[in-house]
């Protein structure tokens, strides 16, 4: 039997900023937020002034001020890329409790453009400034750096424990790229110079319809021959670094009826954490998604067998492979088979990461909003017509979707079970 809060609220619209990926002209993170918020309010017909709860990864007070709003619920949960799935969980609870009526979950992050502006791309708190912080004090001597330098340890442990190979995980990148070639918004949509547009000039980054030097279809060999980053992770096991803005609106059933766009119901939601610093990770082949997913399934009164598609955080191929196991979509050690056996591919029984994923669509540093926007587009049937602000993407027939965000160093997880009206 579903939990009490199940379907108490719906995502009634989801939109992106006007320029995502590799924009020709950088826009600030705040501008990316505001464009997406304006777009989602226009697409739903819900005025910005009706928003009475703001949920973002660190930006909520600035967004309220910028928009001249005085919300009754202010949530700035910022625990990595899964923050946005948690925001949906929190918004569901706040609406179910009768505290607010219209929740905004918002994201803006110039992950790409910050390299040209000298600006700060993320809304995340600084964090690692305290040298006495035990996570800093007892790891800083050992040369770890960006996320790939940590996640590689999980991939190696998975290979040792289950006998999986680098080629197995490369299959995830290959199938995910196949989805990206069906989505003109994806950075890796096609190879630069293909189609009717001229090749990239020197210094141009392209992406989307302009194409990318390394865009278009890839094979397992392409992944295996890409340069080593942190063995066993290679370049094409790693997500993109892009700009993105996105926003979703969440309301109860009464307001949902007034929206111009269809509701996608929040049937289940859950969140959890296993550690923050990877030093404290217990089993490097498991994440807290096992717990967050079981909470979400329980609330929904549904199970993995009921899911018709999945949006799985793929900061790295290993993130997606392990998470598929944690969500109960594949047995332990066999997550990669969903991709290798093409169940996750276009036309497969369980489409996964239909936008092209963080690997080939867009990953701004935090990727949880991109998951939400694509899940909404698929379940509301608006992927093919492009929704409000984007170009079209491949439309599936799925009516249910499990969405799982992963944050930190395989640390935090937020899971949602979303369903469309029958």
């Amino acid at each position: 039997m579903p939990g009490e809060a199940s379907r108490a609220a719906a995502i009634i619209g989801a939109a992106e900023a006007n320029d995502i990926g590799y924009p020709q002209t950088p826009k600030s993170s705040l501008t990316l937020h505001i464009e997406a918020i304006n777009n989602v309010c226009e697409m739903t017909g819900i005025p910005i002034a009706a928003i009475d709860g703001i949920f973002s990864a660190g930006w909520s007070p600035q967004l309220a001020e910028y928009l001249g709003l005085h919300p009754k619920y202010i949530d700035t949960t910022a625990v990595g890329g899964c923050s946005f799935e948690m925001h949906v969980h929190h918004a569901l609870a706040a609406i179910h409790a009768g505290v607010i009526n219209v929740a905004l979950v918002s994201h803006g992050e110039m992950g790409f453009s910050q390299r040209f502006t000298g600006g700060k791309g993320t809304g995340r708190p600084g964090g690692a400034g305290d040298p006495w912080d035990p996570g800093v004090q007892h790891t800083s001597a050992y040369g770890l750096g960006g996320a790939p330098t940590s996640y590689s340890h999980a991939l190696n442990r998975h290979m040792a424990r289950y006998g999986t190979t680098q080629e197995d995980f490369a299959e995830i990148a290959v199938v995910t790229r196949e989805w990206a070639t069906l989505n003109p918004r994806a950075v890796m949509y096609r190879k630069a110079g293909e189609g009717d547009l001229p090749p990239l000039e020197k210094g141009e980054w392209g992406g989307g319809k302009r194409g990318h030097t390394f865009g278009g279809p890839i094979t397992v060999d392409t992944v295996m021959n890409s340069r080593p980053i942190s063995w066993p992770i290679k370049l094409l096991d790693v997500c993109l670094v892009t700009d993105h803005g996105g926003a979703v609106l969440i309301t109860g059933p009464e307001i949902a009826k007034t929206s111009k766009t269809p509701p996608v119901w929040i049937a289940g939601a859950g969140e959890s954490i296993s550690h923050w610093n990877m030093l404290e990770m217990n089993d490097f082949t498991e994440t807290s998604a096992g717990r967050s997913a079981s909470a979400a399934y329980r609330m929904a009164g549904m199970g993995p067998e009921d899911m018709e598609m999945a949006m799985i955080y793929d900061s790295f191929t290993v993130t997606a492979g392990i998470t598929a196991e944690m969500l109960g979509l594949a047995p332990a050690g066999e997550g990669f088979t969903l991709w290798k056996d093409r169940h996750a591919a276009p036309g497969g029984r369980l489409p996964i990461n239909t936008n092209g994923g963080g690997l080939s669509f867009n990953h701004s540093g935090m990727y949880g909003m991109q998951l939400l926007v694509e899940a909404y587009r698929q379940l509301s049937g608006t992927a093919e017509d492009g929704g409000f602000s984007g170009d079209s993407g491949k439309q599936t027939s799925a009516r249910s979707c499990i969405v799982n965000g992963t944050g930190g160093s395989l640390s935090t997880t937020g899971t949602l079970v979303l369903v469309s009206d029958d």
Binding site: G145, H153, A160, R227, I229
Partner: protein, 140 residues
Amino acid sequence: MAEYTKPIPSPDPVSQPFWDGAKEGKLMLPRCSDCNRVHWYPRVICPFCHSMNIEWVEGAGRGTIHTFAVQHNRGLVARGWGDEVPYVTAYIDLAEGDRMLTVLKGVDPNDPDSIEIGGAVQIEFEEASADVHIPFWRPV
């Protein structure tokens, strides 16, 4: 002593007994005197039973490799480490329980297949400054 150019940890009052031990070549570990479990990193409260009765004991300095990776990307690794690539980072399961991060000494980063997950390692200390000797691990 050649100047140590990589990041040097900052001991704090909670961890000071560990760093004092390191200067003498000893691996000092925090242990809960109620549930008798060793934990890492050092805390003022036991993460297993939440007792605040923590004592320090000398560990054996032995462990096994839980997992490892080879760092190749000089732009991605921590400041001071760029010139060292490729090098091998590893998580070590201590003989007493719980886990430490390290850079593995005495291994070939260009032949990761020669490094064994589960393989035995022992601790050694490198003098980074007069006050801070940093533990590293090496296969035995």
